[in-house]
Protein backbone atom coordinates (compact mmCIF):
# COMPACT_ATOMS: atom_id res chain seq x y z
CA UNK A 1 0.00 0.00 0.00
CA UNK A 2 1.42 3.36 -0.91
CA UNK A 3 2.17 5.72 1.87
CA UNK A 4 -0.07 8.69 2.29
CA UNK A 5 1.67 10.15 5.34
CA UNK A 6 2.82 13.51 3.99
CA UNK A 7 -0.53 14.28 2.38
CA UNK A 8 -2.43 13.25 5.51
CA UNK A 9 -0.28 15.59 7.61
CA UNK A 10 -0.98 18.35 5.11
CA UNK A 11 -4.73 17.64 5.35
CA UNK A 12 -4.72 17.84 9.14
CA UNK A 13 -2.72 21.07 8.93
CA UNK A 14 -5.11 22.53 6.35
CA UNK A 15 -8.11 21.76 8.51
CA UNK A 16 -6.72 23.86 11.34
CA UNK A 17 -5.82 26.74 9.05
CA UNK A 18 -9.36 26.76 7.65
CA UNK A 19 -10.90 26.71 11.09
CA UNK A 20 -8.59 29.52 12.21
CA UNK A 21 -9.48 31.90 9.40
CA UNK A 22 -13.15 31.08 9.85
CA UNK A 23 -13.15 32.21 13.49
CA UNK A 24 -12.50 35.91 12.93
CA UNK A 25 -13.84 36.87 16.33
CA UNK A 26 -11.27 34.62 17.99
CA UNK A 27 -8.45 36.21 16.03
CA UNK A 28 -9.53 39.71 16.94
CA UNK A 29 -10.32 38.75 20.53
CA UNK A 30 -6.89 37.31 21.19
CA UNK A 31 -5.24 40.56 20.05
CA UNK A 32 -6.72 42.44 23.00
CA UNK A 33 -4.29 41.20 25.60
CA UNK A 34 -1.05 41.98 23.73
CA UNK A 35 -2.34 45.43 22.77
CA UNK A 36 -3.19 46.24 26.38
CA UNK A 37 0.27 45.10 27.50
CA UNK A 38 1.98 47.09 24.77
CA UNK A 39 0.09 50.31 25.38
CA UNK A 40 -0.19 50.19 29.17
CA UNK A 41 3.34 49.00 29.87
CA UNK A 42 5.03 50.50 26.86
CA UNK A 43 3.81 54.02 27.50
CA UNK A 44 3.50 53.64 31.29
CA UNK A 45 6.97 52.33 32.06
CA UNK A 46 8.77 53.76 29.07
CA UNK A 47 10.21 56.82 30.81
CA UNK A 48 11.16 54.95 34.00
CA UNK A 49 12.92 52.30 31.94
CA UNK A 50 14.83 54.93 29.98
CA UNK A 51 15.80 56.82 33.16
CA UNK A 52 17.12 53.62 34.69
CA UNK A 53 19.42 53.31 31.69
CA UNK A 54 17.52 50.56 29.91
CA UNK A 55 17.10 52.46 26.66
CA UNK A 56 13.94 52.51 24.56
CA UNK A 57 11.36 50.35 26.36
CA UNK A 58 9.21 49.66 23.28
CA UNK A 59 12.31 48.18 21.65
CA UNK A 60 12.78 45.94 24.67
CA UNK A 61 9.14 45.07 25.26
CA UNK A 62 7.91 44.33 21.74
CA UNK A 63 9.77 41.03 21.19
CA UNK A 64 8.54 39.93 24.63
CA UNK A 65 4.91 40.67 23.79
CA UNK A 66 5.19 38.97 20.40
CA UNK A 67 6.60 35.90 22.13
CA UNK A 68 3.87 36.04 24.76
CA UNK A 69 1.02 36.16 22.28
CA UNK A 70 2.49 33.26 20.32
CA UNK A 71 2.97 31.21 23.45
CA UNK A 72 -0.55 31.83 24.77
CA UNK A 73 -2.18 31.05 21.42
CA UNK A 74 -0.01 27.96 20.97
CA UNK A 75 -0.62 26.45 24.41
CA UNK A 76 -4.30 27.24 24.13
CA UNK A 77 -4.54 25.49 20.75
CA UNK A 78 -4.23 22.26 22.74
CA UNK A 79 -7.87 22.78 23.68
CA UNK A 80 -8.81 21.88 20.11
CA UNK A 81 -7.77 18.33 20.92
CA UNK A 82 -10.25 18.28 23.80
CA UNK A 83 -12.93 19.78 21.57
CA UNK A 84 -12.28 17.20 18.90
CA UNK A 85 -12.56 14.46 21.45
CA UNK A 86 -15.81 15.81 22.89
CA UNK A 87 -17.40 16.55 19.52
CA UNK A 88 -16.23 13.23 18.12
CA UNK A 89 -14.03 14.33 15.24
CA UNK A 90 -10.96 12.81 16.90
CA UNK A 91 -12.44 9.35 16.31
CA UNK A 92 -12.63 10.05 12.60
CA UNK A 93 -8.88 10.76 12.52
CA UNK A 94 -7.95 7.92 14.87
CA UNK A 95 -9.69 5.32 12.73
CA UNK A 96 -8.06 6.54 9.51
CA UNK A 97 -5.07 4.64 8.09
CA UNK A 98 -2.68 7.26 9.45
CA UNK A 99 -0.24 6.74 12.33
CA UNK A 100 -0.77 8.51 15.64
CA UNK A 101 2.59 10.19 15.17
CA UNK A 102 1.44 11.72 11.88
CA UNK A 103 -1.81 12.88 13.46
CA UNK A 104 0.09 14.50 16.32
CA UNK A 105 2.51 16.02 13.82
CA UNK A 106 -0.22 17.46 11.57
CA UNK A 107 -2.10 18.91 14.51
CA UNK A 108 1.04 20.46 15.99
CA UNK A 109 2.08 21.98 12.67
CA UNK A 110 -1.43 23.41 12.24
CA UNK A 111 -1.54 24.90 15.74
CA UNK A 112 2.01 26.24 15.35
CA UNK A 113 1.20 27.88 12.02
CA UNK A 114 -1.88 29.67 13.31
CA UNK A 115 0.05 30.81 16.41
CA UNK A 116 2.82 32.14 14.19
CA UNK A 117 0.28 34.05 12.10
CA UNK A 118 -1.05 35.48 15.36
CA UNK A 119 2.52 36.49 16.24
CA UNK A 120 3.01 38.20 12.88
CA UNK A 121 -0.17 40.23 13.40
CA UNK A 122 1.11 41.34 16.82
CA UNK A 123 4.48 42.10 15.23
CA UNK A 124 2.77 44.46 12.78
CA UNK A 125 0.92 46.10 15.69
CA UNK A 126 4.19 46.70 17.56
CA UNK A 127 5.54 48.50 14.50
CA UNK A 128 2.50 50.77 14.51
CA UNK A 129 3.11 51.49 18.19
CA UNK A 130 6.73 52.43 17.57
CA UNK A 131 8.84 49.28 17.45
CA UNK A 132 11.74 49.64 14.99
CA UNK A 133 13.10 46.17 14.23
CA UNK A 134 16.06 45.35 12.05
CA UNK A 135 14.18 44.36 8.92
CA UNK A 136 17.24 42.53 7.56
CA UNK A 137 16.80 39.97 10.35
CA UNK A 138 13.10 39.41 9.78
CA UNK A 139 13.72 35.85 8.58
CA UNK A 140 15.50 34.96 11.82
CA UNK A 141 12.63 36.58 13.67
CA UNK A 142 10.07 34.45 11.84
CA UNK A 143 12.12 31.36 12.56
CA UNK A 144 12.08 32.09 16.29
CA UNK A 145 8.36 32.85 16.19
CA UNK A 146 7.74 29.47 14.60
CA UNK A 147 10.08 27.80 17.09
CA UNK A 148 8.18 29.26 20.05
CA UNK A 149 4.93 28.24 18.37
CA UNK A 150 5.98 24.60 17.86
CA UNK A 151 7.36 24.21 21.38
CA UNK A 152 4.22 25.49 23.04
CA UNK A 153 1.74 23.82 20.69
CA UNK A 154 3.38 20.50 21.50
CA UNK A 155 3.22 21.47 25.17
CA UNK A 156 -0.49 22.32 24.94
CA UNK A 157 -1.24 19.11 23.06
CA UNK A 158 0.65 17.13 25.70
CA UNK A 159 -1.43 18.67 28.49
CA UNK A 160 -4.66 18.22 26.52
CA UNK A 161 -3.84 14.53 25.97
CA UNK A 162 -4.04 13.95 29.70
CA UNK A 163 -7.16 16.05 30.34
CA UNK A 164 -10.79 15.00 30.28
CA UNK A 165 -12.45 18.38 30.11
CA UNK A 166 -11.88 22.01 29.18
CA UNK A 167 -12.08 23.38 32.72
CA UNK A 168 -9.19 21.19 33.85
CA UNK A 169 -7.21 22.25 30.81
CA UNK A 170 -7.88 25.95 31.38
CA UNK A 171 -6.86 25.65 35.01
CA UNK A 172 -3.51 23.99 34.28
CA UNK A 173 -2.76 26.28 31.36
CA UNK A 174 -3.34 29.43 33.39
CA UNK A 175 -1.31 28.01 36.24
CA UNK A 176 1.65 27.38 33.92
CA UNK A 177 1.39 30.25 31.41
CA UNK A 178 1.54 33.21 33.77
CA UNK A 179 4.73 32.29 35.67
CA UNK A 180 6.44 31.26 32.43
CA UNK A 181 5.55 34.60 30.91
CA UNK A 182 6.53 36.81 33.85
CA UNK A 183 9.75 34.89 34.49
CA UNK A 184 10.97 34.87 30.91
CA UNK A 185 12.47 38.33 30.73
CA UNK A 186 9.67 39.39 28.36
CA UNK A 187 8.68 42.45 30.42
CA UNK A 188 11.89 43.39 32.26
CA UNK A 189 15.49 42.16 32.41
CA UNK A 190 15.99 39.48 35.06
CA UNK A 191 19.75 39.95 35.35
CA UNK A 192 19.46 41.60 38.77
CA UNK A 193 16.62 39.37 40.05
CA UNK A 194 17.08 36.95 42.99
CA UNK A 195 18.91 33.73 42.26
CA UNK A 196 15.83 31.48 42.25
CA UNK A 197 14.06 33.67 39.71
CA UNK A 198 17.10 33.60 37.46
CA UNK A 199 17.13 29.84 37.83
CA UNK A 200 13.48 29.56 36.70
CA UNK A 201 14.23 31.87 33.80
CA UNK A 202 17.18 29.66 32.92
CA UNK A 203 15.04 26.52 32.55
CA UNK A 204 12.08 28.42 31.04
CA UNK A 205 11.82 27.69 27.29
CA UNK A 206 10.12 31.03 26.68
CA UNK A 207 13.26 32.88 27.91
CA UNK A 208 15.17 31.57 24.91
CA UNK A 209 12.34 32.44 22.54
CA UNK A 210 12.16 35.99 23.85
CA UNK A 211 15.93 36.36 23.85
CA UNK A 212 16.20 34.94 20.34
CA UNK A 213 13.53 37.32 19.04
CA UNK A 214 15.35 40.21 20.67
CA UNK A 215 18.64 39.14 19.17
CA UNK A 216 17.04 38.89 15.72
CA UNK A 217 15.06 42.12 15.78
CA UNK A 218 17.21 44.46 17.89
CA UNK A 219 20.64 42.85 18.08
CA UNK A 220 20.60 43.26 21.87
CA UNK A 221 20.34 40.00 23.79
CA UNK A 222 21.67 37.95 26.66
CA UNK A 223 22.72 34.86 24.73
CA UNK A 224 24.03 34.70 21.22
CA UNK A 225 21.35 33.99 18.62
CA UNK A 226 22.94 30.61 17.88
CA UNK A 227 22.64 29.47 21.49
CA UNK A 228 18.98 30.53 21.59
CA UNK A 229 18.29 28.68 18.34
CA UNK A 230 19.96 25.47 19.51
CA UNK A 231 18.11 25.51 22.84
CA UNK A 232 14.74 26.10 21.14
CA UNK A 233 15.43 23.32 18.64
CA UNK A 234 16.34 20.94 21.46
CA UNK A 235 13.24 21.76 23.48
CA UNK A 236 11.12 21.37 20.34
CA UNK A 237 12.35 17.81 19.89
CA UNK A 238 11.86 17.05 23.59
CA UNK A 239 8.30 18.37 23.69
CA UNK A 240 7.37 16.65 20.43
CA UNK A 241 8.56 13.33 21.83
CA UNK A 242 6.74 13.78 25.15
CA UNK A 243 3.62 15.07 23.37
CA UNK A 244 3.58 12.12 20.97
CA UNK A 245 4.03 9.67 23.80
CA UNK A 246 1.08 11.15 25.70
CA UNK A 247 -1.04 11.48 22.56
CA UNK A 248 -0.37 7.83 21.78
CA UNK A 249 -2.13 6.86 25.00
CA UNK A 250 -5.30 8.81 24.24
CA UNK A 251 -8.35 6.55 23.94
CA UNK A 252 -11.44 7.43 21.95
Amino acid sequence: MKSNTAYAIYILWLRQIKRYFRSKSRIVGSLGQPIVFLVALGFGFGSIFAKAGGGNYIQFLSPGIIAMSIMFTAVFSGIELIWDRQFGFLKETMVAPVSRLSIMFGRTLGGATTSTIQGVIVFLITIVIGFRPDIAAVLWGLLFMFGIAIVFTAFGTAIASTMEDMQGFGLIVNLVNMPLFFLSGALFPLTTAPFWIQWIAFINPLSYGVDGLRAAFTGVSQNSIGVDAIVIAGITVLFLVVGSWLFNRVEV
Binding site: M1, K2, N4, Y7, A8, Y10, I11, L12, L14, R15, K18, R19, R22, S23, F87, G88, F89, L90, K91, E92, T93, M94, V95, A96, P97, V98, S99, E251, V252
Partner: protein, 276 residues
Amino acid sequence: MVLFQFVMPDSAISVKNLTKKFKHSLVAVDDISFDVENGSVFAFLGPNGAGKTTTIKMLTTLLHPTSGTIRINGMDPVKQSHAVRQSFGIVFQDPSLDDELTAYENMFFHAGLYGVPRKESPGKIEDLMKFVELWDRKDSLVKTFSGGMKRRLEIARGLLHTPAILFLDEPTTGLDPQTRNYIWTYIKKLNEERGLTVFFTTHYMEEAERAAQRVAIIDHGKIVINDTPANIISSSGTASLEDAFIKLTGRAIREQEGTGMDQMRTMRQAWRGGRR
Protein backbone atom coordinates in the same frame (compact mmCIF):
# COMPACT_ATOMS: atom_id res chain seq x y z
CA MET B 1 -17.99 1.46 -8.71
CA VAL B 2 -15.26 -0.94 -7.64
CA LEU B 3 -15.92 -2.24 -4.17
CA PHE B 4 -13.59 -5.18 -3.81
CA GLN B 5 -10.03 -4.01 -3.90
CA PHE B 6 -9.00 -6.83 -1.57
CA VAL B 7 -8.78 -10.58 -1.92
CA MET B 8 -11.95 -11.66 -0.20
CA PRO B 9 -12.20 -14.60 2.13
CA ASP B 10 -15.72 -16.03 2.55
CA SER B 11 -16.20 -14.22 5.82
CA ALA B 12 -15.92 -10.47 5.79
CA ILE B 13 -15.70 -10.61 9.59
CA SER B 14 -14.58 -13.57 11.62
CA VAL B 15 -14.45 -13.41 15.41
CA LYS B 16 -13.29 -16.15 17.80
CA ASN B 17 -13.49 -16.10 21.59
CA LEU B 18 -13.32 -12.34 21.71
CA THR B 19 -13.15 -10.84 25.20
CA LYS B 20 -12.69 -7.31 26.50
CA LYS B 21 -12.22 -6.53 30.14
CA PHE B 22 -11.81 -2.89 31.12
CA LYS B 23 -9.70 -1.88 34.07
CA HIS B 24 -11.72 -1.60 37.28
CA SER B 25 -14.82 -2.81 35.53
CA LEU B 26 -16.86 -5.81 34.55
CA VAL B 27 -16.21 -7.87 31.44
CA ALA B 28 -17.78 -5.77 28.68
CA VAL B 29 -17.47 -8.43 25.95
CA ASP B 30 -17.35 -11.99 27.18
CA ASP B 31 -15.95 -14.73 24.92
CA ILE B 32 -18.02 -14.14 21.79
CA SER B 33 -17.57 -15.83 18.41
CA PHE B 34 -19.36 -15.17 15.13
CA ASP B 35 -18.87 -14.85 11.39
CA VAL B 36 -20.32 -12.33 8.96
CA GLU B 37 -20.65 -13.55 5.42
CA ASN B 38 -19.40 -11.40 2.57
CA GLY B 39 -22.10 -9.21 1.09
CA SER B 40 -24.57 -9.79 3.90
CA VAL B 41 -26.28 -7.53 6.39
CA PHE B 42 -25.61 -8.52 9.99
CA ALA B 43 -27.30 -7.04 13.07
CA PHE B 44 -25.96 -6.91 16.58
CA LEU B 45 -29.05 -6.49 18.72
CA GLY B 46 -28.88 -5.74 22.40
CA PRO B 47 -29.90 -3.36 25.16
CA ASN B 48 -27.77 -0.39 26.12
CA GLY B 49 -24.59 -1.45 27.87
CA ALA B 50 -24.63 -4.93 26.31
CA GLY B 51 -21.19 -4.49 24.75
CA LYS B 52 -22.10 -3.53 21.17
CA THR B 53 -19.91 -0.43 20.91
CA THR B 54 -17.02 -2.14 22.66
CA THR B 55 -17.21 -4.94 20.08
CA ILE B 56 -17.29 -2.48 17.17
CA LYS B 57 -14.30 -0.62 18.61
CA MET B 58 -12.30 -3.83 18.70
CA LEU B 59 -13.34 -4.80 15.16
CA THR B 60 -12.35 -1.35 13.91
CA THR B 61 -8.88 -1.14 15.55
CA LEU B 62 -9.81 1.46 18.17
CA LEU B 63 -9.51 -0.96 21.09
CA HIS B 64 -7.21 -3.92 21.62
CA PRO B 65 -8.98 -7.13 22.70
CA THR B 66 -8.10 -8.62 26.06
CA SER B 67 -8.11 -12.00 24.31
CA GLY B 68 -9.47 -13.74 21.24
CA THR B 69 -8.91 -13.28 17.51
CA ILE B 70 -10.50 -11.06 14.88
CA ARG B 71 -10.23 -11.17 11.10
CA ILE B 72 -11.53 -8.27 9.05
CA ASN B 73 -11.40 -9.09 5.34
CA GLY B 74 -8.89 -11.75 6.35
CA MET B 75 -6.63 -9.32 8.23
CA ASP B 76 -5.78 -8.83 11.89
CA PRO B 77 -6.88 -5.40 13.25
CA VAL B 78 -4.11 -5.42 15.85
CA LYS B 79 -1.19 -6.33 13.60
CA GLN B 80 -2.36 -4.89 10.28
CA SER B 81 -4.27 -1.90 11.56
CA HIS B 82 -3.66 0.37 8.56
CA ALA B 83 -4.68 -2.21 5.95
CA VAL B 84 -7.76 -3.08 8.01
CA ARG B 85 -8.70 0.59 8.40
CA GLN B 86 -8.48 1.05 4.66
CA SER B 87 -10.91 -1.84 4.16
CA PHE B 88 -13.89 -0.69 6.21
CA GLY B 89 -15.99 2.42 6.69
CA ILE B 90 -17.63 3.36 9.97
CA VAL B 91 -20.44 5.51 11.28
CA PHE B 92 -19.95 5.93 15.01
CA GLN B 93 -22.71 5.99 17.59
CA ASP B 94 -22.05 9.64 18.36
CA PRO B 95 -21.46 12.25 15.62
CA SER B 96 -17.87 12.53 14.42
CA LEU B 97 -18.11 15.32 11.85
CA ASP B 98 -16.31 18.66 12.05
CA ASP B 99 -19.17 21.09 12.64
CA GLU B 100 -17.10 24.12 11.68
CA LEU B 101 -16.42 22.78 8.21
CA THR B 102 -18.79 22.47 5.27
CA ALA B 103 -20.23 19.12 4.24
CA TYR B 104 -17.93 19.08 1.22
CA GLU B 105 -14.86 19.89 3.30
CA ASN B 106 -15.65 17.02 5.65
CA MET B 107 -15.72 14.70 2.65
CA PHE B 108 -12.59 16.24 1.15
CA PHE B 109 -10.58 15.82 4.35
CA HIS B 110 -11.70 12.21 4.70
CA ALA B 111 -10.52 11.51 1.15
CA GLY B 112 -7.15 13.04 2.05
CA LEU B 113 -6.73 10.99 5.21
CA TYR B 114 -7.54 7.77 3.36
CA GLY B 115 -5.37 8.50 0.36
CA VAL B 116 -8.20 8.49 -2.18
CA PRO B 117 -6.46 9.39 -5.48
CA ARG B 118 -6.84 13.13 -5.96
CA LYS B 119 -8.06 12.76 -9.51
CA GLU B 120 -10.91 10.50 -8.43
CA SER B 121 -12.00 12.13 -5.23
CA PRO B 122 -14.11 15.07 -6.56
CA GLY B 123 -16.20 12.69 -8.67
CA LYS B 124 -16.61 10.23 -5.83
CA ILE B 125 -17.58 12.93 -3.37
CA GLU B 126 -20.21 14.21 -5.78
CA ASP B 127 -21.58 10.70 -6.41
CA LEU B 128 -21.92 9.88 -2.75
CA MET B 129 -23.33 13.24 -1.72
CA LYS B 130 -25.93 12.89 -4.43
CA PHE B 131 -26.65 9.36 -3.25
CA VAL B 132 -27.53 10.61 0.25
CA GLU B 133 -29.27 13.66 -1.26
CA LEU B 134 -27.01 16.28 0.28
CA TRP B 135 -25.31 17.60 -2.85
CA ASP B 136 -27.37 20.80 -2.84
CA ARG B 137 -26.14 21.48 0.69
CA LYS B 138 -22.50 20.75 0.02
CA ASP B 139 -21.28 24.24 0.93
CA SER B 140 -23.28 24.55 4.15
CA LEU B 141 -21.50 24.32 7.47
CA VAL B 142 -22.29 20.99 9.13
CA LYS B 143 -23.41 22.76 12.30
CA THR B 144 -26.49 23.91 10.38
CA PHE B 145 -27.49 20.29 9.62
CA SER B 146 -30.21 18.27 11.36
CA GLY B 147 -29.37 14.99 13.06
CA GLY B 148 -30.61 13.01 10.08
CA MET B 149 -28.57 15.02 7.59
CA LYS B 150 -25.45 14.53 9.69
CA ARG B 151 -26.07 10.79 9.73
CA ARG B 152 -26.47 10.70 5.96
CA LEU B 153 -23.28 12.68 5.49
CA GLU B 154 -21.46 10.28 7.79
CA ILE B 155 -22.68 7.34 5.73
CA ALA B 156 -21.46 9.02 2.53
CA ARG B 157 -18.14 9.82 4.18
CA GLY B 158 -17.72 6.25 5.43
CA LEU B 159 -18.05 4.98 1.85
CA LEU B 160 -15.66 7.45 0.25
CA HIS B 161 -12.60 5.20 0.29
CA THR B 162 -14.68 2.33 -1.21
CA PRO B 163 -14.56 -0.03 1.77
CA ALA B 164 -15.79 -3.62 1.60
CA ILE B 165 -17.50 -3.44 4.99
CA LEU B 166 -19.57 -0.67 6.51
CA PHE B 167 -19.92 -0.57 10.31
CA LEU B 168 -22.88 1.34 11.70
CA ASP B 169 -23.18 1.78 15.47
CA GLU B 170 -26.84 2.50 16.25
CA PRO B 171 -27.26 4.46 13.02
CA THR B 172 -30.83 5.51 13.67
CA THR B 173 -30.90 6.16 17.41
CA GLY B 174 -32.40 9.54 18.16
CA LEU B 175 -33.82 10.05 14.66
CA ASP B 176 -37.49 10.39 13.81
CA PRO B 177 -39.26 7.45 12.12
CA GLN B 178 -39.28 9.03 8.68
CA THR B 179 -35.55 9.75 8.73
CA ARG B 180 -34.93 6.24 10.03
CA ASN B 181 -36.76 4.89 7.00
CA TYR B 182 -34.62 6.98 4.68
CA ILE B 183 -31.42 5.72 6.27
CA TRP B 184 -32.50 2.11 5.86
CA THR B 185 -33.39 2.68 2.23
CA TYR B 186 -29.83 3.89 1.58
CA ILE B 187 -28.25 1.02 3.46
CA LYS B 188 -30.40 -1.59 1.70
CA LYS B 189 -29.50 -0.08 -1.65
CA LEU B 190 -25.80 -0.15 -0.87
CA ASN B 191 -25.99 -3.79 0.11
CA GLU B 192 -28.10 -4.91 -2.83
CA GLU B 193 -26.61 -2.82 -5.62
CA ARG B 194 -23.00 -2.61 -4.57
CA GLY B 195 -22.56 -5.81 -2.59
CA LEU B 196 -21.43 -3.97 0.51
CA THR B 197 -21.17 -6.01 3.72
CA VAL B 198 -23.03 -4.21 6.49
CA PHE B 199 -22.54 -4.74 10.22
CA PHE B 200 -24.87 -2.69 12.37
CA THR B 201 -25.85 -2.50 16.00
CA THR B 202 -29.26 -1.50 17.23
CA HIS B 203 -31.61 -1.76 20.13
CA TYR B 204 -34.62 -1.46 17.82
CA MET B 205 -36.15 -4.91 17.30
CA GLU B 206 -38.00 -4.12 14.12
CA GLU B 207 -34.85 -2.76 12.45
CA ALA B 208 -32.93 -5.95 13.09
CA GLU B 209 -35.89 -8.01 11.92
CA ARG B 210 -36.44 -6.01 8.76
CA ALA B 211 -32.94 -5.12 7.59
CA ALA B 212 -30.68 -8.00 8.59
CA GLN B 213 -30.17 -11.44 7.10
CA ARG B 214 -28.68 -12.59 10.39
CA VAL B 215 -29.13 -11.29 13.91
CA ALA B 216 -26.93 -11.88 16.93
CA ILE B 217 -28.56 -11.01 20.22
CA ILE B 218 -26.00 -9.76 22.74
CA ASP B 219 -26.71 -9.31 26.42
CA HIS B 220 -24.26 -8.65 29.26
CA GLY B 221 -21.37 -9.12 26.85
CA LYS B 222 -22.45 -12.59 25.68
CA ILE B 223 -24.08 -13.67 22.43
CA VAL B 224 -27.34 -15.36 23.40
CA ILE B 225 -28.31 -16.50 19.90
CA ASN B 226 -27.05 -15.94 16.35
CA ASP B 227 -29.39 -16.91 13.49
CA THR B 228 -31.76 -15.56 10.85
CA PRO B 229 -34.63 -13.52 12.29
CA ALA B 230 -37.14 -16.14 11.12
CA ASN B 231 -35.21 -18.97 12.79
CA ILE B 232 -34.83 -17.05 16.03
CA ILE B 233 -38.57 -16.51 16.14
CA SER B 234 -39.52 -20.07 15.24
CA SER B 235 -36.93 -21.79 17.45
CA SER B 236 -38.03 -19.82 20.48
CA GLY B 237 -41.68 -20.51 19.63
CA THR B 238 -42.67 -16.86 19.76
CA ALA B 239 -44.52 -14.50 17.46
CA SER B 240 -41.90 -11.79 17.03
CA LEU B 241 -38.26 -10.96 17.63
CA GLU B 242 -39.37 -8.85 20.54
CA ASP B 243 -41.02 -11.84 22.25
CA ALA B 244 -38.04 -14.03 21.38
CA PHE B 245 -35.75 -11.51 23.02
CA ILE B 246 -37.80 -11.51 26.21
CA LYS B 247 -37.84 -15.28 26.27
CA LEU B 248 -34.10 -15.59 25.65
CA THR B 249 -32.87 -12.89 28.01
CA GLY B 250 -35.66 -12.81 30.53
CA ARG B 251 -36.45 -9.17 29.96
CA ALA B 252 -37.54 -6.61 27.43
CA ILE B 253 -35.39 -4.15 25.55
CA ARG B 254 -36.75 -0.86 26.58
CA GLU B 255 -36.80 1.65 23.80
CA GLN B 256 -35.90 4.89 25.40
CA GLU B 257 -36.40 7.61 22.87
CA GLY B 258 -34.83 10.36 24.91
CA THR B 259 -34.02 13.56 23.13
CA GLY B 260 -30.40 13.92 24.20
CA MET B 261 -27.81 11.17 24.24
CA ASP B 262 -26.86 12.08 27.79
CA GLN B 263 -30.36 11.72 29.08
CA MET B 264 -30.50 8.28 27.51
CA ARG B 265 -27.23 7.24 29.09
CA THR B 266 -28.31 8.30 32.55
CA MET B 267 -31.56 6.41 32.14
CA ARG B 268 -29.72 3.38 30.87
CA GLN B 269 -27.41 3.33 33.84
CA ALA B 270 -30.21 3.78 36.33
CA TRP B 271 -32.08 0.97 34.63
CA ARG B 272 -29.14 -1.40 34.64
CA GLY B 273 -28.21 -0.47 38.21
CA GLY B 274 -31.71 -1.14 39.43
CA ARG B 275 -31.66 -4.64 38.05
CA ARG B 276 -28.58 -5.78 39.88
